[in-house]
Amino acid sequence: MTKNLVHIGCGAGFAGDRKDAGGPVVDTLATRDGPKYLIFETLAERTLALAQKQKQRDPERGYSPFLEAYVRPVLERCLANNIRIVSNFGAANPAGGARRILEIAKEIGCRHPRIAVVSGDDLLSVMDEKEIRSHKTIEGLPIGDGIVAANTYIGARPIAEALAGGADIVVVGRTTDPALVLGPLIHEFGWTEEDWDALAAGTLAGHLLECGAQVTGAYFADPGFKDVPDLAHVGFPIATISREGAIRVGKADNTGGCVTPATVKEQILYEMHDPSAYLTADVVLDISGVSVEQASENVVAVSGARGKARPDTLKTTISFDGGWLGEAEISYAGPNALARAELAREVLSERARERGSNAEYRFDIIGTSSTFDGGSAPYPGAGTAAADGDYRVRAAVSCHSREVAEDLADEVLSLYCSGPAGGGGFRRNITAQIHTASILVDRNRLSPSVQFIGAGA
């Protein structure tokens, strides 16, 4: 057994990912020697704002609604095989999430885990709204009224600290996604705050794992061009990282999917802007010299990550009230369907104009080129749509009042009796919107801390 290799698997790449993905990852990790970890990444920018709202209604909630679905099936096996769990499913309430996991352990009747709660990402607890608003927005909209949440990406160090304290499970709120992987590596290898190249390799490993099966053939398949075996049972990734920062990406045993240079390249560049400067709380990652190589079947070696000194500021996402989104759809099919769909769109657009609302509207015909179209100009590269077919008219509005959103949906509904011939399959969706803005704050303003509950606490 060697402590020069650490094995880290991923059981979820976003809130809403497969609930049964973690099982095969845990079964595979159980066969490996050395330190073993399972991460779940469940926290999109808006997820945290929703969680804050939930916590305001019930102080014990506000952790990820998926926490139980991910943890319960694997908890006993993880504890029995020394597989430590690290996740941001704490969302707005890591302490509440940790208490729920302890309850689950009691319900299952397994060993009671030692659980670390990482807190200190809530900027609102250390900075007032006026000061928050004095920061320049670097991404997203200017900060609007009604701030719901302001959470800072606090990085990997508190996770490493939690593991050094003997945690079986680390529950975090907002941190950078790669920190879920980098934290365990810092703990196992003792990488210092200035081991930039090692921190960069750990961050790259985290970037490869954080989206779950996006590196193992999912979100990749393109039949006839990029074929992926048994996508229905795609295996989630397991990376093995060495003390020197060598990365090997594989996947859970006895699963579908594939790990090839092509699947890994797509994930390396996913949500990457300047490849020489991927900013995180712990290091600036430079992937411009990275290369990939098939090491064995479904295992790809990744090397060449370089690191530069971390920034003095931390990214913070501010979430605020964003009004309403109203959407509604209706279908037209068969002979002359396109002309009937176009007429329906004209009717909707004319009636919206006559209402004189200053809200922003959009009308699409799904089945032509709706997602490629611009808000006010169609996609020039779209071919001629067939006159006969199966088209769906979609109306959408962004507005301050729920009534305007409902009115638009009612207009689409009215096409049942007052629109072109043969409209069917009406659906509506009215959503309260949360908008986000990102700012950079002085990292010294945040003081993340770790508490323990459960065994030995």
Partner: protein, 125 residues
Amino acid sequence: MTVVLDTLRLRLHDIAHGRSGDKGNRSNISVIPYTEAAYSLLLDQVTEERVLALFAHKGASAVTRYELPNLPALNFVIDDALEGGVNSTLNLDLHGKTLSFMLLDLPVEVPLDRVQELTRGRRQG
């Protein structure tokens, strides 16, 4: 006049693959050739100017192309490509997830004698 047909018009999708991601109102789209030999053709033909023109109807304001010869791959960062981004777009696809395939719809001219070579990597997964 004699016309010599020495290239074949294919789509980028025939010789490369990619994935899009979003941050605010900015989209990034990777373009990864199936064969290393196609990389130089991508460098010549998939230019910042062409990509900006492709996204003009969405209101794109600037395109930066990053070159990664080691992979090899290109990474395009397209400013103001997402009609406001996930915050405020009315596009059905809030994140612009489908847009990698809009870029892969771009025509490319491939020398006739290299068509087989440059499309060879497909189906390898």
